[in-house]
Amino acid sequence: MTYIKPTFRHPALPKNKISFAKADYEGAISTLCAGCGHDSISGSIVQACYEMSIEPHKLAKISGIGCSSKTPTYFLSNSHGFNSVHGRMPSVTTGANMANRDLIYLGVSGDGDTASIGMGQFVHAIRRNLNMVYIVMNNGCYGLTKGQDSATADFGSVSKPGSVNQFQAIDLVGMALELNATFVARSFSGDKTQLIPLIKAAMSHPGFAFIDVISPCVTFNNNKGSTKSYDFVRDHIEATSVLDFVPQKDEITVSYEEGNSATVPLHDGSLIELRKLSPEWNPTDRYSAFVRLQKAKMKGEILTGLLYIDPESTELHDLMGTTDVPLNTLREAELCPGNATLESINQNFR
């Protein structure tokens, strides 16, 4: 069931640089449970795209299967969307990206979708440094199939029916770091101030930009004892930094104290401004990110923020040497070598 919102827009609504109102970035009315963390993330996506003045048709949103994977219906209705099959969003996104390197690819997945059935594809999209934003809406459970533990459920976390998880959690951020991802972040659905600039930075990053967003499932995993409940997460969160995203050509408005601040220039001319909250960590040094993350884990902290970024990131097309023009625009003239060439090929087989 899809609810269509009225499309009438009040003319006086504020517009962004390309004359779109925020409403132009919204989607159909959500059918998720009232209060679901995923809806907040959708909201942050809408806000980030609006503020970034993204042309909606220049973005493709792709997902797997799950409550989280439904969200692309609930944002950016002017963008093409693809709700594929369970766990396979990364490969579909890879193909889409191969066909047209000029769009922004926003992949949305769940912790079941990514950390279980989709683990292989997740790992290999990272390995290829596919140019995409990969958001996991991480609730530690399988929402759509009614609350089973997922592989990101923490050891010792208590489920709603009361069972205690016996397995070690898969930390997707730790994995991404280990796998040499070029942009690794974690955030919380309840923290839009942090999440919105992260999404913007991710969209500007040329390569695989991963954001693991903890997103409580209010229906199945928000109980006492759950380590993915809203309250638990809020109480255990620890940020690496306060950050701002400064788009290409914008003036720098924030300014942090010397010493604690860092500016990371991105490929497209935009900047990430960071006020560091933990001194030994450096966002462009993978080793320090590793150490910071391991220490946070040992302390039982949920480390959020931008953990690591490689400002020199080279994305898959450039690794492969693909032409600059989107492949899907090439036609007979560029693609078909013609019969004369074929005749000379034949000659090699006589």
Partner: protein, 603 residues
């Protein structure tokens, strides 16, 4: 006994990983250049080095290209398989072997001729490095065969020169080895043998090519820009050849960059996901695999069917089930490809039988996939894909344009009141799609594997669902008019009996037809080239009373498909199956059918 000219089967028994493949194909090429039809088959183990491997060449001036049983000349280079190899020679045939070490007397047969050539010894006399001794040994036996069978030395030498065009230093030692083998045979044996060759002009402008190479070229000419794949025998060489040719034919002349993208996926599921993503996004894309890969792709194939996304999949079939006989040929995936995935699904299949058809049909696959927005599977097999075949030269009509099917561009969308992705505007079951990025505010839609209405909105309504799946069935009906027609082998029907075959069974079937003719048995013949079956197929079956369906699988799967889709009386279609993993022979077909010819032969 009079000489047997230009009609023989010669088999090379080698050890794999010893470089014999290149010498062996040089042998075939030389014969082909003498104007003689050849048909070589690799019979190789699922392993890299050190095990027995065979290369069997049928030479027949009448152009019979199917395999034939019975070995006239065995070139036995592998002591591991001597006993077996010797046993497989026809009485009166020849066993050519490396006589550097003597054969065990008690292995030898009375009824065949033994021709010892001290290959290794000659090689060691000429070359010092062990690796080279090994390699040139192969050239030495080619030289010896040239003498024994009367192959023109100039032809072989020319091939060697071409082969080492870029490393001319290698030409003289190759010549030396070749001559050494030739001279030894000439000096020690009465050359040529009773089984021998003579130049003819029977190959026309044909070429000698592997099906996989032709398929790859079809993908290039058909406009594929994206390939996602995962290695698996016998399909690996499709994408490998695609890449090799792309490197020459698809480099942007201005920038030197690639007008294609090939991704080696992490597995077959991902490979298919990449194809789906790419075609959804408006590129032509394909993947290539074999049975196990198709099984793994089946969830995704169902998505493409139901969400109506073009997909081109090459299935180079091998012996199944499971890992089965990975280096043997079969046609065992007909049903699992036609009905791949859960739920009510059917997929377009094309059945090439020559490399030329691999090329043509592969290019057609892209047009069909785009037109019908559905998976199209090219059903090749190991025999076709990995063996050289004498085949018509590849041709491309330079006026041909790609049929991208129904796609709205920005201009179209501008004109539209309201866009509905799944509206059947033309009443042929095919709807208009749009490519992401086309228009800032119009034409975007949501693709999904769930039931949805004409405007691509999620729906759980039974009525909507029925409308959608019935329309998809209408598309299927439309497709019947577009897929290649079956090939007929008679102007008009001349019998109440017929045979049906497809793919690599073709040559053996045609040869069998002539054998029947000689026995006074008349049969009509039809070669199936595509699924869905169109009216011509129906008509052929209707016009005949008894039809043998020749297949290379156990369960007669094409027969099942025909019966099921055309509501044919099963008794009319008689199974004639061979599934031992070796390419079927005309004699086998003859035997299978003769055994079953139930009623007295009339007309």
């Amino acid at each position: 006994m009079s000489a047997i000219v230009n009609d023989m089967v010669i088999r090379f028994a080698n050890v794999n990983g010893t470089g014999s493949a290149s010498a062996n194909s040089m042998f075939s090429k030389a014969i082909f250049r003498m104007g003689l039809p050849v048909s070589p088959k690799n019979i190789f183990p699922s392993n890299i080095q050190g095990l027995p491997t065979w290369y069997e060449v049928r030479i027949n001036e009448n152009g019979y290209l199917g395999r034939r049983a019975g070995i006239d000349v065995m070139v036995g280079i592998n002591p591991q398989s001597f006993a077996k190899d010797m046993a497989s020679v026809k009485p009166g045939g020849y066993f050519v072997y490396d006589s550097t070490k003597p054969l065990y007397e008690d292995m030898m047969r009375e009824d065949i001729h033994f021709i010892g050539i001290p290959m290794m010894k000659i090689s060691m006399d000429f070359f010092e490095v062990p690796r080279l001794q090994q390699l040139f040994k192969n050239i030495i036996y080619v030289g010896a065969l040239a003498a024994l069978l009367d192959i023109e030395m100039e032809v072989i030498k020319q091939i060697i020169e071409e082969q080492f065009e870029k490393k001319p230093k290698l030409v003289p030692p190759n010549f030396k080895a070749l001559d050494a083998g030739y001279n030894y045979a000439k000096e020690h044996y009465d050359c040529p043998l009773n089984v021998r060759l003579e130049r003819r002009d029977n190959v026309g402008d044909h070429i000698l090519m592997e099906g996989n190479e032709a398929t790859a070229l079809g993908a290039i000419y058909g406009g594929a820009t994206v390939a996602g794949w995962y290695p698996i025998t016998p399909s690996t060489s499709v994408v490998k050849a695609f890449e090799t040719h792309c490197k020459k034919l698809r480099i942007d002349p201005k920038t030197g960059k690639k007008n294609y993208a090939i991704v080696q996926a992490e597995d077959e599921l991902a490979a298919m996901g990449m194809v789906i993503g790419a075609t959804w996004n408006g590129a032509r894309a394909f993947t290539s695999t074999s049975g196990p890969g198709v099984s793994l792709m089946s969830e995704f194939i169902g998505l493409a069917y139901f969400a109506e996304i073009p997909v081109v999949l090459v299935n180079v079939q091998r012996g199944g089930p499971s890992t089965g006989m990975p280096t043997r040929t079969q046609q065992p995936d007909i049903l699992s490809s036609a009905y791949a995935s859960h739920g009510d699904t059917k997929h377009i299949l094309l059945f090439p039988s020559t490399p030329t058809e691999c090329f043509e049909m592969m290019a057609d696959c892209f047009d069909l996939a785009d037109r019908f927005q559905t998976p199209v599977i090219l059903m090749s097999d190991l025999d076709l894909g990995m063996n050289d075949h004498m085949t018509k030269p590849l041709k491309w009509d330079d006026n041909r344009t790609y049929d991208l099917g129904k796609v709205y561009d920005a201009e179209d969308l501008e004109k539209l009141e309201e866009y509905g992705r799944y509206l059947d505007i033309d009443n042929d079951g095919i709807c208009y799609r749009t490519i992401p990025g086309t228009h800032p505010t119009k034409g975007s839609f949501f693709t999904r594997g769930t039931s949805r209405d004409e405007y691509a909105r999620y729906s759980e309504s039974g009525a909507v669902y029925v409308r959608v799946v019935n329309r998809i069935l209408k598309k299927w009906e439309t497709a019947k008019k577009y897929v290649p027609k079956p090939q007929m082998y008679q102007e008009e029907y001349k019998s109440k009996k017929g045979i049906i075959f497809f793919g690599t069974t073709t040559y053996a079937a045609l040869e069998a037809m002539e054998m029947f003719e000689k026995e006074g048995i008349k049969l009509d013949a039809m070669r199936i080239t595509a699924f869905p079956f169109n009216e011509t197929v129906e008509d052929f079956i209707e016009q005949h009373e008894e039809i043998f369906v020749i297949e290379q699988n156990r369960d007669a799967q094409l027969r099942s498909l025909i019966i099921n889709e055309l509501d044919i009386i099963p008794a009319k279609l008689i199974k004639a199956v061979n599934y031992d993993g070796m390419p079927i022979t005309a004699q086998t077909i003859m035997d299978l059918i003769m055994e079953k010819l139930s009623v007295a032969i009339n007309n």
